[in-house]
Symmetry: C2
């Protein structure tokens, strides 16, 4: 049995949607147990409206939560808020993993507060998938992994190396790619292109046992040239938000075109099944959530606008990471790297 | 009369296309004189095939050129190659501006070799336009300016401030926006978000006389929230190439959809006038070229795949920058900033 602590507070769509996601899991999977962490009254009310298996769901009271627009730092003043309580459950070993669709910064901070950084890992990272033209792995995933996308700002060479190792392990577990290709995001594919940290990380990764593809550049992000793209959190944040922005602009342009000319409206209608397919492809934010990697516990961030299905997916990803021994394998990967690098 | 030194060698489409662009200018404008810099035989042969006004075109012999795939550094071993000769013409005052559609790195290096950096400017920058949803300025330009996109890798606070001042001046001349809005690209809109260099630049720009809008994030790039986006050359390179990649992926997906189902093919045909409009919008690389800013002369990079019209546009942009007193106004802007900042 995998025990998952679900922070049901603070998501954009409210407690009910998170509880509904957990209820789905309780009916679909006999090997996952979910703690519903948050306001007990709100949770009880939500549970009354859904169909769930009481053997695999338990309410865990928390005091308060962090809203989306609050500073992450308030978690330190609210030790019993939902995200801190979920993190504590993991630290205490009562839960194997935590999931939250609330404030990202608060999640990273709460997790970092309660869980230790893994030996050999300099900085924890937030990893997220982004849509790509090329498909990845045996399941043909239409997305690639990128990290860090916001847990750090700057990153030195050893931090980038840690990201590469963690991304490789995570991708191999979740996308089931035996040896995921990993690259550093840079301003040119040549190994002498990049910031000093990238140049040094490139040299170090060349000697590692991960499937290192060298540098990739901006063009390679939408194409999906590699399975895992490594960068500092500043760059990852800009890139990911830009992809979101491009998606929004295209949606608005299509709406505008549809309202402007009948011919365009009909054309768009004829394309609708294709556009839906494209929409699914770009709806990557719902693909089961973004892991915080590098801590001594499985931590999954679900998108703030997660509906019940997205919450369910995030819980399942968390359980898959636990079953796949994510933490042990990251530790092993880092130790392996350090051995080969010293040798 | 504005004298423009056009490096006709090294573009992807060959000497003929560049010469044809200059020929167009010679017939359309009586106030621009173009030096055709490159292999005299090739130029003469190209001139025979086009209609031009000989009063405003002159061949200027150069010895060799830099190919697209060569290292920029070879310009130092080829002092008489086309891009170095064009830069020398500007240094000697025989030309007011130079234009090249060849190797970007070679252009930046040749220009930096022959032209001085302007007082108060720490680093020269390459600025480029990118397509945006929002339109800009009195002409309704469907693009915004971004700099640096590749002349530098890292940038300290004062370098970013210099980019902001230069971008503001260039945008006001070329897009005719009286007071262009300028922002720093960061991982959040709050002024405390960003790398140390961005935090410091944010504080300095707040006190400046340019129309500083604070930080923007990735989402704002395709939306076009501001007229000028400032970042270091590493980030600008990644962002710009990513936009190119997204465009390419969409084009391929549309082609694929068209070949897969008759209904989709018809739908795309009905949308074709709209798609052409979109294509024009995203065909930003042809908008007259990217300036190298911060040197004591007007330097314009035309896209490597420039056809004659794009070369013509780049020459006209160069002339417009000279007429608009780009160099003097950058110097004035920097002096102004330094005065207000000391005061």
């Amino acid at each position: 049995m995998v025990n998952v602590a679900l922070d049901v507070m603070g998501g954009d769509l409210g407690v009910e949607e998170a509880v509904r996601g957990a209820a789905l899991v309780s009916r679909e999977s006999t090997s996952i147990f979910v703690f519903l962490v948050g306001d007990p009254e709100e949770i009880s009310k939500a549970l009354e409206t859904v169909d769930y298996d009481p053997r695999r769901v338990q309410v865990m009271a928390a005091d308060g939560f962090v809203a989306m627009d609050e500073s992450a730092r308030v978690v330190l003043e609210r030790p019993d808020c939902s995200v801190m309580t979920a993190a504590r459950l993991v630290r205490e070993g009562r839960a194997d993993a935590m999931v939250s669709s609330g404030n990202t910064g608060a999640l990273v901070l709460a997790a970092s507060h309660h869980l230790e950084r893994l030996p050999g890992i300099r900085r924890a990272a937030l990893a997220a998938v982004h849509p790509t033209e090329r498909r990845h792995g045996p399941k043909g995933d239409p997305f690639a992994l990128m990290l860090d996308v916001g847990a750090t700002v700057t990153a030195d060479a050893d931090t980038l190396v840690g990201f590469a190792v963690m991304g490789s392990v995570y991708s191999s577990i979740i996308s089931e790619i035996p040896s995921p290709s990993v690259a550093l995001l840079s301003n040119g594919v040549e190994s002498k292109k990049g910031t000093p940290a990238i140049l040094e990380a490139n040299q170090k990764l060349k000697k590692s046992q991960i499937n290192f593809a060298g540098n990739v550049e901006g063009l390679d992000i939408p194409k999906g040239t590699v399975d895992v793209v490594v960068c500092d959190g500043f760059l990852g944040n800009v890139v990911l938000k830009m992809l979101e922005g491009v998606g929004e602009v295209f949606t608005e342009l299509a709406k505008d075109a549809s309202s402007r000319r009948l011919k365009w409206k009909i054309g768009l209608t004829m394309l609708s099944s294709g556009l839906r397919r494209l929409k699914r492809l770009t709806d990557w934010k719902m693909y089961g959530g973004a892991p915080v990697l590098g801590l001594s516990g499985v931590v999954i961030k679900a998108h703030g606008r997660s509906e019940s299905r997205a919450i369910r997916n995030a819980i399942k990803v968390a359980a898959k990471a636990v079953d796949g021994k994510l933490i042990e394998r990251i530790q092993h990967g880092v130790a392996e790297f350090n051995r080969s690098h010293e040798g």
